[in-house]
C-alpha cells in the first residue's frame, strides 16, 4: 500500500474493504496495523530547524523556521513553517499577529526574483541580468564621482566629499551587511548617507 495515503483516503479504502469482505474477516489487529502504516508522518519531523529572529519590530522575538531541505548542507530549502522559539528569553515562544504570519511574508506574491530596469520615460520594467545591472551601476557611480567629487574647499582644506550620490540604508539588514555597506559608501566619500532610524 501507498504509505502517503491520507487518513481520509485510508478510510475510504477501508469502506470499500468492508463491502468486499468484512472488517471482522480482516481482523482487528490487522486493521490497527494497517491504520498505523497509513498515518501520515508528523510534517515537521522531516524538516530542518533553523533559529532566527523576527525581522519586524525591535523586540526581536526568537523564531524557529522549518524547511524542507538544508541550506547548510547546500540543499535547496523551502520554508514551510515558522513558530516562536520557546527557549527565547524575551518572547518565550509567543508571537504577535505580524510574527505569526511571517512565513507568508517570506512567500509574498510581490517578492522580487529578478533584477529589473526601467529606462528613462519607460512605462514598464524590463528584466536585466545581474552583470548588466551591476556594470551599469558601477559605471554611473564612477562617472558621477569623477565629475562631482569635491577634493578641497575654498580655503584649501581637503574635504573629500561626494554629495551628488546618496545612499539610504536599511532597517532590517544584519550588522554585517551594515558594516560592509558602511565601508563601501564611506570609502567612496558619499556623505548623503542615512538609515531608517532617521524616521
Amino acid at each position: 500500500m501507498n504509505i502517503d495515503l491520507s487518513r481520509r483516503g485510508f478510510l475510504r479504502l477501508a469502506g470499500a474493504g468492508v463491502a468486499a469482505t468484512s472488517l471482522g474477516a480482516m481482523g482487528f489487529g490487522g486493521a490497527e496495523a494497517a491504520e498505523q502504516a497509513h498515518v501520515r508522518a508528523f510534517k515537521l519531523a522531516t524538516t530542518t530547524e533553523t533559529r532566527n529572529t523576527c525581522p519586524y519590530c525591535s523586540v526581536a522575538c526568537g523564531i524557529i523556521m522549518y524547511s524542507k531541505g538544508d541550506v547548510k548542507a547546500g540543499e535547496t530549502a523551502e520554508l514551510i513553517h515558522i513558530e516562536g522559539d520557546a527557549d527565547h528569553p524575551t518572547n518565550r515562544g509567543t508571537l504577535c499577529p505580524k510574527g505569526a504570519a511571517l512565513k507568508d511574508f517570506v512567500h509574498a506574491p510581490t517578492r522580487l526574483t529578478t533584477p529589473r530596469h526601467r529606462a528613462a520615460g519607460a512605462a514598464e520594467f524590463q528584466e536585466i541580468t545581474w552583470e548588466e545591472a551591476l556594470d551599469k551601476i558601477a559605471r554611473a557611480l564612477k562617472d558621477d564621482r569623477d565629475a562631482n567629487f569635491i577634493q578641497a574647499n575654498e580655503a584649501g582644506v581637503p574635504v573629500n566629499r561626494w554629495t551628488t550620490t546618496g545612499f539610504l540604508a536599511a532597517s532590517a539588514t544584519t550588522n554585517e551587511t551594515a558594516w560592509l555597506t558602511y565601508k563601501t559608501v564611506r570609502s567612496m566619500g558619499i556623505v548623503g548617507f542615512d538609515n531608517q532610524a532617521r524616521v
Binding site: N52, C57, I82, P89, T113, E176, A178, T184, A197
Partner: protein, 813 residues
Amino acid sequence: MTNSWTDIKNTDLVVVMGGNAAEAHPCGFKWVTEAKARRGAKLIVVDPRYTRTASVSDYYAPIRPGSDIVFLMGLIRWMIENDKVQWEYVRNYTNASYLVKDEFGWSDGLFTGYDEEKRDYDKSSWDYKMGEDGFVQTDPTLQDPRCVWNLLRAHVDVYTPEFVERICGTPADKFLTIAAMIGECSSPTKTMTSMYALGWTQHSKGAQNIRGMAMLQLILGNIGVRGGGMNALRGHSNIQGLTDIGLMSNLIPGYLNIPTEKEADWTTYMSTREFRPIVPGQISYWQNYSKFMVSFLKAMWGDAATAENDWAYHYLPKLDVPAYDAMRMFELMNHGKVNIYFCQGFNPILSFPDRGKMTEALSKLKMLVVMDPLATETSHFWQNHGIHNDVDTASIQTEVLELPTTCFAEDEGALVNSGRWLQWHWAGATPPGQAKHDTWIMAQIWTRVRQLYQDEGGVFPDPILNLTWDYADPGEPMPDELAREMNGRALATVYDPADPTKVLAEAGQQLGGFAQYRDDGSTMGGCWIYSGSWTEAGNMMARRDNTDPDDTGAYLNWAFSWPANRRILYNAASCDPQGKPWDPSRKIVEWTGEKWEGYDVPDMPVTARPGEVRPFIMNPEGVSRLFSRGMMRDGPFPTHMEPFEAPIANVFNARMRGNPVARVFETDANQLADIGDPEFPCVATSYRLTEHFHYWTKHNPVNAALQPEFFVEISEELAAERGIARGGSVRVWSKRGQVWAKAVVTKRLRPMQIDGKTVHVIGIPLHWGFMGSARKGFGPNSLTYQIGDANVETPEFKAFMVNIEPATEEPVA
C-alpha cells in the same frame, strides 16, 4: 533602551507615553503584563488616543499631540513642589549642585543667545562656572541661586496643573492623579520605567521630549536600576544596529563623528575630544576616543593608515553642514543637485513626509537603485496608479534599477534589539529566483568601482584602492568575516598597560574587548562598542544559554549586549555612594569593598571606588545632566514649543513658530498652514496597527486580509459635527495634499479643550500604499511636512493640521 525587555518585569510603575507597545511591540509588552501580574506594578498611559495599551492600563489620560514637554515639565514641577525627589541620587549623581554662568537665562519662550535671522542660539552662556583649577564650581547645599537645581525649579515654575490642562487638554485632576502615582517612585525602593517610541521622536522637538522624561527619571533616581530606565522601543528590528554602526551622514561606528571642515587636521579634530574630567578624581571614558578612532581607521585602511598620515584622516569626507541627512538630500534632489540615489530596504516615497515633494525629488534623479526583497512603491514611483500615484510616467526621466534581495529567512548575521542585544541568526531558506544577499550586491558594486579606478584612474582613488578587502571571496564577504572585523583584532602584540610583560593579545588574534583597543596602530576594530562580540572564544552573539540566576532578568549568557555584554547601562547608579544597592531586593551590582560585582557587568572600572568615582563615566562631569549645557541646539532645559502647524500660538511667545532653531527649507515653509488657520482646524497624528508592520505586511496576504483597507479614525463628536457616517468615505486634506479613506468612528478619540478652543484629533494609520496584497490606499505622508527635530532631523509626523469632510465617493482616476 538603557535596560532590556526582560528587565521590565522588575518595575513598579510603567509609564507609556509617546508609544503604544501593546500594539506595536506586543511580545515585549508581555513583560509589562508580567510586572503587573507578579509585582503588582501599575501602568499609566498618556496618549491622544485610548489605545490598546491604554485599555489594559491602571490609569489613562489624554494629551494633545505635540504638547508632551508641558506635561513632563509639569510633572517635574509637581515632584519638586511635593518633595518627591530621590535626594541622595540627585545630590550625588546629577549636576543639580553645579553652578551655571550668570548670563544664562530664559524669557519669552527662548533661552539666552537667540538669533532670529540664523534660527540658531549662541550657546556660550549655557555652561557651568569653571574654577581656576579647571574644575566646575558647585554648591552641594543647593542654596546658590545659580545652581542647576534652582534654575530648574525656576524654569518649570510656569508648568502648573492648570497650565498643563490649558495647553495639553489633559484635565488637571487626571494630571494630578498621575503625578501622585509617579511621585511614589521617588522612594529608593520603588522604580518606574519609561517606554516610548515614535510618539515622542517624530516631533520638531522630539529629542527634548525624551530629555524631559530622562530628567524626571533622574529626579526619581530611576536610571541605572532594575525595572527603571529610559526605554526607547525602536521601530525596526535593526535600526539600533544600523545606528550603532554609524550609517548616518555624520557618524562613525560606535557614535564617533565624521569630521567637519573646521577640523582641518587630526590634531584639531582630537583637540575637542579630550573629555578631560571636570570634577576631581573622575573617570571620563571618552578619553579613550583616539583608541576607538585609530582602530576604526586601521579597520578601514589597514597599512595605508599610519601615524605619519594621521591614520588616513583625510580619506574621511569632511562636512560643510551638520549632516547630509535624508531630508537635506531630498531638498537637494528637488533642486536637481543629486544624480544617483540608493534605497537599500527602504521605501522613502512612503516613509518620508510630503509625498508630493518626494515624487518630485525622485523624478529629478538620473538613476535610482532600489535593493529590496519586495516590489516597493519607491521602485515604482514612476508608475501611474490613479489617485494613489497620479504621475505622468513618460515625463519621468529617472532610470530605475530594482535589485531583488534576500529577506531574514535566507540570511545570516546579527540584529540588535531595542535592549542592545546582538542576536545571531541563521539562514533556513533558499532565496527566491535570482535574489541575492545585500553583502553580495554591495561587494559586487564596490569591486567593480574599484576595478574601474584601477583601470582608468580618476579623482582621488586612494580611499577606494586602499580600503581593506581581505575577504576569502572578494565578491562575497561572509557574515563571520565581517563580524570579526567589527569586533577588532590585534595587528601587533597588545600588552597590559598595568603590566607590560603581560600579553593581552598576540598579533592576528581577536580582541577580547574595547579595553584592548590602542591608538598606536597595533589594533584594528570597525565598531568599538561591539568589541567582545566575536573573541578568540568564538561568536558571543550566538550564545543561547537562557539561564538567569535569581531571576534578575539579565540573561548574561544569552547573545551579547553592547557595551561589554552589559545589560543595564549606568548600573553603578543602582547603588548609593557607599556602593550598596538602593534597594537590596533589586540588586544588580554592588561594591564589595574591593571591587564591583553582581548579576550584570558593572558599568564602572571594577576597582573604581564608589564615592570617589561617580557612576556616569561617559560624562566628564561623572554625573548625569539635568542641565545639558550647549549639547542640544534648542536649549539646556526642555521648554514648550508648539508643532510647526498647531491650533494655537505658543503661549510664551506668539511670534515663535514651531521649534525656533529647527531647520526649515523655504519650499517647506511655504507649504505650512498658518497657526490657528480655520481651513485646517483638526490636529492629525499618525500611528501603527497591530496587524501590520509599516509598508511591508501589506505584501503578505494574511495581514492584508486582517486589515485590508486604509482608514482614518475620528471621534463620534467630530463625525456628528461633519455629518460623517460610520464606515463612510471621507476626504482629509492638509496644505500639502489630500487622501480618501473610510471613516472609523470611535470613542477612543475625544475632542479636547485647548486654551479655550475645542480641538478634534484625527488618527491616521500608516500601512497602505499602491503595491502589495492590500487594497490601494494612502500614507499619512501625503499630508505631512518635511520639517524635522532641531537636533536629529526626525520629521514631525505626529502633529500637523488637516481638515475632513464626507466624500460621496472616491474619485476614479
